[in-house]
């Protein structure tokens, strides 16, 4: 699965092109972003679970993400976690977002099975233990779907020297796609791991992946986590300049 360029660098067997495009994959310039692996979205007893929705759809990517996270930490890249949530007084929650959430019976700030829904500091807002942050890892709290708007993510990526981003998280068509589109627009070279992400609607999941790969990779590339692990866990990958 590992593809080596003439210069001996390792690249990932991805679609629609061998990733990254510039052939330079190294821990010093690569970040792994884990998007919204929060209890209310994918944890037992969280909001999605208690409402009777199929938790397996949002949990499907959790085990492969945990494997990637462990290997990525070992490799030495920058790990960034995101959490969607609002201030307790909801002063950072747009009124139409609040209205919509109440319309579907999941009012932001209302009491839910694991505390106030989508409010920072509540149990349901925490990241699930399988992929929980460890000391030294960056956590970005975001008020919207995209992780760049109204956050310090771009600043931290620049200061860390990041030029390449690997994405995991939920949900594929909403928070992951919005963030990946922005990252691509801003010049980051992006890869989405297909088995490390999930959506509440299978059709939207498939379409979201296809949107990334259209036109030669308009938003970056996609790959199975095994293809990525083959590179970062291999001797060539770990010895990359």
């Amino acid at each position: 699965m590992t593809n080596q360029t003439s210069s001996g660098r390792a690249q990932v067997e991805a679609m629609p092109y061998i990733w990254p495009f510039d052939g330079v994959l190294q821990p010093e310039t690569t970040a792994l972003i884990l998007i919204d692996w929060q209890v209310d979205f994918c944890g037992p007893g969280g909001y999605v679970d208690r409402m009777g929705y199929d938790l397996s759809l949002t949990r499907a990517g959790l085990a492969p993400t945990a494997r990637v996270l462990a290997a990525f930490r070992n490799w030495g890249g920058t790990v960034i976690h995101t959490r969607e949530g609002h201030r307790p007084d909801l002063s950072d929650c747009p009124p139409n977002k609040l209205w919509r959430s109440k319309q579907i019976g999941a009012g932001i700030g209302d009491a839910g099975p694991t505390g106030r829904i989508l409010v920072r500091g509540e149990p349901g807002w925490e990241i699930v233990p399988e992929v929980a942050p460890i000391d030294g890892e960056i956590i970005v709290d975001k008020p919207g779907k995209g992780a760049f708007y109204a956050t310090d993510l771009d600043l931290m990526l620049r200061l860390a020297g990041t030029t390449h981003i690997v994405f995991t998280g939920i949900t594929t068509d909403v928070c992951v796609h919005t963030t990946m589109r922005d990252a691509n627009d801003m010049g980051y070279e992006c890869l989405l791991l297909t088995d490390c992400t999930g959506a509440t609607d299978p059709g939207n999941y498939e379409a979201a992946l296809k949107m990334v790969t259209m036109q030669g990779g308009v938003f970056g590339a996609i790959a199975h986590s095994e293809a990525f692990l083959n590179v970062i866990a291999s001797p060539v990958g770990s010895l990359a300049p």
């Binding site: 139409n96 579907i104 939207n204 979201a208 036109q215």
Partner: protein, 208 residues
């Protein structure tokens, strides 16, 4: 407190919009509504049905402006990777731009019209909080712009048949993604639904 009767300014909601009657606050207010037309020629194919979409875009722009709203055309600089996806239809772009007579033209540095452009400031200056979003690249610039606008708190309506897809197999999903979870990025409607909502206002005499 000044008495500004909402019936003079507002026109009710767009009937036929999904998954809820748009806008969420219950009344289309022309002077706080802007049309964002995504016009990056890299995303235009130019099939016959695409030309119909262009005509709808022009119709929408005339209606929005004559009712006192703002028409914004968004174009893009060359992608940072230097990749050019399609044959750039510069001539077509010019024609549509001319027919639309946008009040504001902004140039973005990415697929999102908000990136590297004065779009947010222009909308805030004009006090436009409700947005009709349409144009070229439903699955590209239109979606990126819609998503960015939604995170910024704008109330968005995707005008589906005034938008064109590069890959038409993605159009259905692009619409579905907006409607999911009660309208996670806003709502969608057809051009005729939007024009009808403005038309009702005219019959009521609420457009000067």
């Amino acid at each position: 407190m000044t008495h500004v009767a909402p019936v003079i300014e507002a026109m009710g909601t767009v009937s036929g919009s999904q998954p809820y009657p748009w806008p969420y606050h219950g009344a289309l207010v022309p002077r706080q509504t802007a049309l964002l037309a995504c016009l990056d020629p890299q995303w235009r194919i130019g099939r016959p049905q695409d030309r119909e979409s262009d005509e709808r875009l022009v119709q929408l722009s005339r209606t929005v402006r004559s009712a006192g709203g703002l028409v914004v055309a968004i174009t893009a600089t060359t992608s940072h990777t230097g990749r050019t996806f399609l044959n750039a239809g510069t001539k077509i772009e010019t024609t549509v731009l001319k027919d639309m007579e946008p009040d504001v033209k902004v140039k973005a540095t990415g697929t999102s019209g908000f990136l590297g452009s004065p779009l947010d400031r222009e909308l805030r200056n004009r006090k436009c909080v409700d947005l009709l979003v349409a144009g070229w690249g439903l699955e590209g610039p239109v979606h990126s712009t819609l998503r960015a606008a939604n995170d910024r708190g704008f109330e968005c309506l995707l005008v589906a048949d005034a938008s064109t897809s590069v890959d038409t197999t993605l159009a259905f999903a692009a619409d579905q993604m907006v409607c999911f979870s009660g309208g996670i990025f806003g709502a969608i409607a057809r051009t005729s639904d939007v024009l009808a909502a403005y038309g009702r206002g005219q019959t009521d005499g609420s457009i000067q």
